[in-house]
């Protein structure tokens, strides 16, 4: 499946909507195991994405992804800024070669791993990105992929980021980065897959 720049725009605007609607919920999740700012940080970052996308004149997939990366890097303020920013920057670079959605998401995942030095099972956003990337490659991606990833992330013990400080208390909690990434991929289903 190929991703067009129009689809990418709609996808990211939809993501902004979901993050904004769930801002308080994301911050509550973060309050339990982190510093409680994930909702407001991501709402501010995706608002900046929305503004940036409204002024993008270069109608290419690469430009949409790159502007998204720059807005997130500049405006989120927390660790999710460099992490989401690195994902979209890696996708923008990959978009020079291909528009294949599964290849692009895989590139984004690698960008996050590189920036955060984390991997599968550390209870981070990677525990959402990895199963989605795998399902996209295998042609099995659906809402069920996201739902299952959220179930799987709960029992994990956090090994990276602020949540790792609370150790065993992170077990049973949802990781806010995995949840916000879940919104990103729900938006992808609604705007691109469906």
């Amino acid at each position: 499946m190929e991703l067009t720049h129009e689809q990418a725009q709609r996808w990211l605007l939809n993501f902004h909507g979901k993050v904004t609607d769930n801002k308080a919920y994301l911050s509550d999740l973060d309050q339990a195991i982190g510093d409680g700012d994930h909702g407001s940080n991501m709402a501010r970052g995706t608002e900046a994405v929305k503004e940036k996308l409204a002024s993008v004149t270069d109608e290419s997939l690469e430009a949409v992804l790159k502007q998204t990366a720059m807005a997130l890097i500049s405006k989120v303020g927390g660790a999710s800024g460099p992490l989401y920013g690195s994902a979209f920057m890696a996708m923008a670079k990959k978009a020079k070669e291909t528009r294949d959605l599964s290849v692009l998401i895989e590139a984004g995942l690698e960008g996050i791993k590189h920036r955060g030095k984390a991997d599968v099972g550390d209870k981070t956003m990677i525990d959402m990105w990895q199963p989605v990337a795998t399902a996209l490659k295998e042609g099995t991606f659906s809402q069920a992929t996201i739902d299952q990833a959220l179930l799987d992330v709960k029992p994990l013990k956090a090994k990276k980021g602020r949540a790792s400080y609370v150790g065993d208390r992170s077990i049973g909690a949802l990781d806010p980065g995995a949840v916000s990434s879940g919104y990103l991929f729900e938006a992808l289903i609604e705007e691109v897959i469906a």
Binding site: D37, I73, S74, K75, V76, G77, G81, P82, R115
Partner: protein, 122 residues
């Protein structure tokens, strides 16, 4: 040109406070700092950290940070700049203070690295 020092904190006042502390013992070292987000909130700003790196008089920089997102933002800027940037995973204030005092004292980079090694905590 000797080493320069960059301070990156989540809070503007912390960055400024560490800068003041360092300047006490290292008045001749080029030290720049960035703290908080663009809006003065708690967090990290790509633009402010980029400015601290670019505005430092030195082209070879040792960067000290308080928490994870400041480090990740430093890494992103370091990948974009032409300067030689090293991010030091040392205890934030102790590490920066040690580096500054030694640069001021005219020590070589290898001596500074040796003194920073036991201060690495992250």
């Amino acid at each position: 040109m000797s080493l320069g020092i960059v301070i990156a904190s989540h809070v503007d006042h912390i960055a400024e406070g560490v800068y003041r502390l360092l300047k006490e013992s290292a008045p001749d070292v080029s030290i720049t700092y960035a703290g908080g987000t663009d809006d003065g909130e708690v967090g990290s700003s790509y633009a402010l950290i980029e400015a601290a790196i670019e505005q430092n008089d030195s082209d070879t920089l040792y960067c000290f940070y308080d928490l994870g997102s400041a480090k990740m933002t430093l890494e992103m800027v370091s990948e974009m700049t032409d300067k030689d940037v090293t991010i030091i995973d040392a205890a934030f204030i102790e590490g920066a203070y040690t580096a500054c005092a030694l640069i001021q004292g005219g020590y070589k980079q290898t001596d500074i690295d040796a003194q920073l090694a036991p201060l690495k905590v992250k």
